[in-house]
């Protein structure tokens, strides 16, 4: 307890409510309110409507949702596999520092630059990917590997290695130790890495906007195109679709983790 008096506490709490509410929380609430507003010319939105949401869930906009989901699943889940593999292989090996640095490179480099690099590298021989959806998937994969690696590497520090040693000493083959002991112990971290990867991939804009072909527009790119054309209310509705989808996916992945731990 830092503040003891009743008035002192009240003052601090009011200040907290103002700062947290206005600065941190309000922007997100405004987007949600705008999605359902016909117009917004005063302090409060007016003319409640579902039209924007309907528009955000039809035609090109719906296609973007499907593109984003496919990208998040392909890029995000591959990233979890590679990140987990990298973290487990690097743990305690003599290449740990190199692997650590290399896996964190995509976070330290701005996502726009990651996109530019892919554009420069894969617009030429030997591998031509520019103009295909694969360059978008690769961009997401690269960015999410760093986060997956970080999550699993942090969990490895907390996992007791003696379980794996005991299993091995009892005659389990390395593959069996990996499959029955080491991976299950890391499952909570792996599933939270998957949740993080999918969520970040759904909202990724920097690298995507550098590399996307017209046929593979993700949700954030569509939202940007809408705001650029001045259709901010439809953009807000589509942002709500993005948020809702992300929350549902993360909750599902979290449920999987819960069940895995119970078993």
């Amino acid at each position: 307890m830092l503040v003891w008096t009743r008035t002192g506490k009240a003052v601090v709490w009011i200040a907290f409510a103002l700062v947290f509410g206005l600065l941190v929380l309000l922007p997100f609430l405004v987007v949600i309110a705008a999605a359902f507003a016909g117009s917004w010319n005063g302090v409060l939105p007016s003319d409640p409507t579902g039209d924007h949401l309907r528009q955000a869930l039809s035609g090109d906009e719906l296609a973007s949702l499907s593109v984003s989901l496919q990208t998040a699943f392909m890029g995000g889940l591959l990233a979890v596999v590679i990140g987990t593999w990298g973290a487990m292989a690097a743990y305690g090996s003599r290449f740990a520092r190199v692997a650590d640095a290399m896996h964190h490179l995509p976070i330290a480099v701005p996502s726009v630059v990651v996109g530019l690099g892919l554009l420069v590298a894969f617009s030429r021989q030997p591998v031509l990917l520019n103009g295909t959806k694969w360059i978008v998937v690769i961009a997401h994969l690269v960015l999410m590997v760093a986060f997956s690696y970080g999550t699993v590497a942090a969990a490895l520090q907390r996992v007791d290695p003696s379980y794996a040693d005991v299993a091995a000493s009892l005659g389990a083959s390395p593959a069996r130790v990996l499959w029955r002991v080491r991976l299950p112990m890391l499952l909570p971290a792996i599933s939270s890495a998957a949740g993080l990867s999918v969520a970040l991939s759904m909202g990724e804009v920097g690298a995507t906007i550098m590399v996307y072909p017209a046929s593979w527009r993700t949700l954030p790119v569509s939202i940007f195109a809408l705001t650029d054309r001045g259709q901010t209310f439809v953009a807000a509705a589509e942002a709500v679709v993005l948020l809702a989808t992300t929350v549902v996916l993360v909750v599902i992945l979290d449920r999987l983790r819960g069940r895995a731990v119970e078993r």
Binding site: M1, L2, V3, W4, W13, A15, F16, V19, L23, V24, L26, P27, F28, V30, V31, W40, G42, I82, G83, M88, A89, R94, F95, V98, D100, M102, L105, I107, A108, V109, P110, S111, V112, V113, L116, G117, L118, V120, A121, L141, V142, V145, G150, T151, A154, G195, L196, A199, M202, G203, E204, V205, G206, I209, M210, P220, I223, T227, T232, V250
Partner: protein
């Protein structure tokens, strides 16, 4: 003799296992090398002919100054706001404080452009405050970044504060120290590492921030990542974009290296 032979095979087999182990690191590293390192090397090579033109241009110098300005202002803002919010949640707790802490965790995974999008409704010409001029100024970017990155400062702070024994605060207070003094002399020194870690991560992320600047319409405000996009995608000037990319990488990797050293090898990261 038999025992010696047995010992020898054990040593050999464990050594072979350890020798084989590092090979497993190679496949993921190969993926990173092909998809990240090779493209970045090409970016550096591609940039060579354009250095003179770009570095001499006022556009580049303005963007460089703007980027650092925005990143430093945003980080300072996040540190102030984040520390205040974390202190209240941890030490002046109210019903529902845990819910707020959980909300903060969720915000880390949201896309930053949502904040910029909401600003068009709050500060736009027809919005709540009708402060149209503000929206195109760099301060709108700073405010949006403070909103979005404050949770990145709060998270390590909340973790560090939850490990701080309450008794330590109570003793200081019982010895007559006022709230400010307890905060300054007991709490802040204890959570300094978390403050440094959260602040340096925020500085790195704000230097690289793109979504917010893009969505706020870069009319008056051009940062380096924004310039990479404009040159590369709008003007098809790949070499020019590559120069700026190299400068940006040097800036953020240099900073990252300095911070990692300053933190004694401790990594500043999301978790």
């Amino acid at each position: 003799m038999a025992v010696e032979a047995l010992g020898a095979t054990v040593v050999v087999s464990s050594q072979r296992r350890r020798d084989g182990k590092w090979l497993w690191v190679l496949p993921p590293l190969l993926v990173i090398a092909v998809l990240v390192v090779y493209p970045l090397v090409l970016v550096a090579i591609e940039s060579i002919p354009a250095w003179g033109d770009v570095v001499g241009s006022a556009e580049f110098r303005d963007a460089l100054v703007r980027t650092v300005q925005i990143a430093v202002s945003s980080t300072v803002g996040c540190l102030i706001v984040g520390t205040f919010l974390a202190v209240v949640i941890s030490f002046v707790p109210f019903p529902g404080a845990r819910v707020v802490a959980g909300l903060v965790d969720t915000m880390l995974a949201l896309p930053s452009f949502l904040v910029a999008l909401s600003f068009t409704f709050i500060y736009g010409t027809t919005g709540i405050l009708r402060a149209g001029g503000f929206l195109t100024s760099p301060w709108a970017v700073v405010l949006a970044e403070v909103t979005f990155y404050t949770p990145f400062v709060m998270r390590p702070l909340l973790a560090a504060m939850s490990r701080l024994p309450q008794a330590q605060l109570d003793v200081a207070a019982s010895l007559g120290a006022g709230p400010w003094r307890v905060l300054r002399q007991v709490v802040l020194p204890e959570v300094r590492p978390a403050l440094v870690a959260g602040g340096s991560l925020t500085l790195l992320l704000t230097l690289n921030e793109f979504g917010i600047v893009l969505f706020l319409g870069a009319k008056g405000t051009t940062t380096l990542p924004m310039l990479v996009h404009t040159k590369g995608i709008v003007m098809f000037d790949y070499p020019g974009a590559c120069v700026i990319a190299v400068v940006q990488i040097a800036l953020s990797l240099g900073l990252y290296a300095v911070l990692r050293m300053a933190l004694g090898g401790r990594r500043a990261r999301l978790d």
